[in-house]
Amino acid sequence: MALKDAPIINMVNFDEKEAYNHDRPISSLIRTQLLHLHTAENLWLPPEDRTNININELHTEKQASEYIQRVTALLHRHGRRQQKATSRAKAHRPTKSAKARKKAASAPRKRASKNKSSGKKRGSRR
């Protein structure tokens, strides 16, 4: 048995060039997508990475898709950078148990306070 045995149903051909219209005014759905991406840009991207494009001046599907492409790429780039930073931070974090972390956290403080007091003593001796 193979795919060649499958009954073939033909899809309907149509004139794709004639159907294509990137100057079609954008629907309320794409207008919403623009608004969401614009908000995401302002929420998450640092000011120097933002497009500063006025989305109210985008009226056609081509204009909208250019903006959507740009912001999607920027958001992905920013997200990847953040994920790398998070991974780096995790990699440098000591992997001790909570109990050990608590013990370790309290121990240096005691040493620091001893040093501080001994330092004072040293200082006073000087």
């Binding site: 048995m1 193979a2 795919l3 045995d5 499958a6 009954p7 073939i8 149903i9 033909n10 899809m11 309907v12 051909n13 149509f14 794709e16 060039k17 159907a19 294509y20 219209n21 990137h22 079609r24 954008i26 629907s27 309320s28 759905l29 794409i30 919403t32 997508q33 608004l35 969401h36 991406l37 908000t39 995401a40 929420l43 998450w44 599907e61 081509k62 909208a64 898709s65 250019e66 959507i68 492409q69 999607t72 790429a73 958001l75 992905h76 997200g79 990847r80 994920q83």
Partner: protein, 412 residues
């Protein structure tokens, strides 16, 4: 467990845009009487009170150049015939022309909302519906627009939203109700949302884009199918706009949102199906669900049923319907939904509200509910709505159909 369920390794969901069940599949009832479609006598009154019958004269584009209203107040008109909110009002599905007439159409053009496709005009969807499983009772999750309905497919809730406004899922909500992608990741499983390309991007923008690992393009979907790297769960978004493609090409919108070319979407469904169908190992181990996010303002004759609330409420100011606070206790309008697998018998029709004794009511929460049941057994996150949602994998049986029983789509 059935052999089909045992063999299942991948669930793929393709969610299209804005077409009702009757508009796309209603014409099938003539030759397939179990499909709860149109008998030709269904009608709605126009502005003059003249009853206008459904007509199989839907065109691929041009009839719906004014986008039909599918926001909450508009859908309320469509379902209740324009009767304002009052306790005990009855749904009659009589307000579709009335609603479309408010969208800048001429009185005559507003009749186009009653048009439907004859099955031969959209052969991919109608063939899959009759060759595999079609649901008589799959409804949009909310009587409202795209964003909140798609949220139900990702989270099993829209977090109280009934509109297109952006909502940020708080950390507290995310911990309580993580997206299906986050649940899969936490459970050690893989999940991806494949949007068509960057110029089309995704409609799940603000919350999931924080985790890059969930996203890939449709080209990557095709490549992942070929390389054997398809995740356990995949959600595909079609192309939402006509825009230039690589190398000076032209890419047509494939989402079928009015007034995009319906055939571009039909052929896109065929492309997704063919890709899975043509790879033997993938075909045996994949269930493909094709479903529409909401009805897009187009006529359907079935009254949406009640449902388990998801624990949220939308205030009167949010619904836009005077006096109506929405408790997410009833569904939106019926949409086309088709399940494809070699482990389903030919021509299964899952009964809906037309058969109260055997009805199974599905909505978009059924998607995360099904994925959770298959891949994350024991995971207890999700809303009451999702936990009570019907799942669809029990439809997979023990017998795998032979290659000569499973179609492939070609081009003339």
């Amino acid at each position: 467990m059935s052999a089909g369920l045992d063999a299942l390794k991948h669930i793929v969901v393709l969610m299209m845009e804005n077409r009702s069940f009757d508009h796309m599949l209603g014409g099938l009832m003539k030759d397939h009487p179990k499909i709860n479609g149109l008998n030709g006598d269904e009608s709605n009154p126009d502005a003059q009170g003249t009853e206008v019958k459904v007509s199989d004269t839907a065109s691929y584009r041009g009839q719906l150049s004014h986008d039909p209203d599918h926001h909450f107040p508009g859908v309320d008109v469509q379902i209740y015939g324009g009767a304002g909110f009052a306790p005990g009002r009855q749904a009659n599905m009589k307000g579709f022309i009335k609603s479309y007439a408010t969208q800048g159409t001429s009185a005559k053009d507003s009749h186009a909302i009653m048009n439907y496709f004859s099955p031969d005009k959209i052969p991919v969807l109608t063939t899959l519906a009759t060759e595999y499983v079609v649901f008589n009772g799959w409804f949009a999750s909310i009587p409202g627009p795209t964003i909140c309905n798609r949220a139900f497919a990702h989270y099993g809730t829209s977090f109280g939203n009934v509109d297109m406004n952006m909502f940020l899922v708080t950390d507290a909500d995310r911990a309580r109700i993580p997206s299906i992608y986050e649940r899969m990741k936490q459970g050690g499983q893989s999940a991806k949302l494949y949007y068509f390309d960057e110029p089309s991007s995704t409609m799940e923008i603000v919350n999931l884009l924080k985790d890059q690992s969930f996203f890939a393009t449709f080209d990557q979907f095709l490549a992942d199918c070929k390389s054997g790297n398809l995740p356990e769960y995949s959600f595909i978004e079609p192309n939402y706009s006509d825009h230039p493609g690589p190398g000076g090409g032209q890419l047509l919108a494939t989402d079928q949102h009015p007034d995009h070319h319906v055939l571009a979407g039909d052929n896109f469904i065929g492309q997704v199906y063919n890709q899975i169908r043509s790879i033997s190992d993938l075909w045996k181990s994949t269930a493909l669900l094709i479903v529409y996010d909401e009805h897009g303002g187009l006529f359907d004759h079935v009254v949406p049923p009640s449902c388990t609330p998801d624990g949220f409420q939308a205030a009167e100011a949010a619904t836009g319907v005077p006096g109506l606070t929405f408790k997410f206790d009833r569904l939106g309008i019926r949409v086309p939904a088709v399940l494809v697998s070699p482990y389903v018998a030919r021509g299964i029709v899952v009964p809906g509200p037309e058969d109260p004794a055997h009805q199974r009511i599905f909505e978009h929460s059924s998607i995360p509910a099904t994925v959770t049941r298959k891949f994350l057994q024991g995971n207890d996150t999700g809303t009451a709505r999702e936990k009570n949602a019907q799942t669809f994998l029990d439809l997979l049986g023990n017998t795998m159909r032979a290659d000569n029983e499973c179609v492939f789509f070609g081009k003339k």
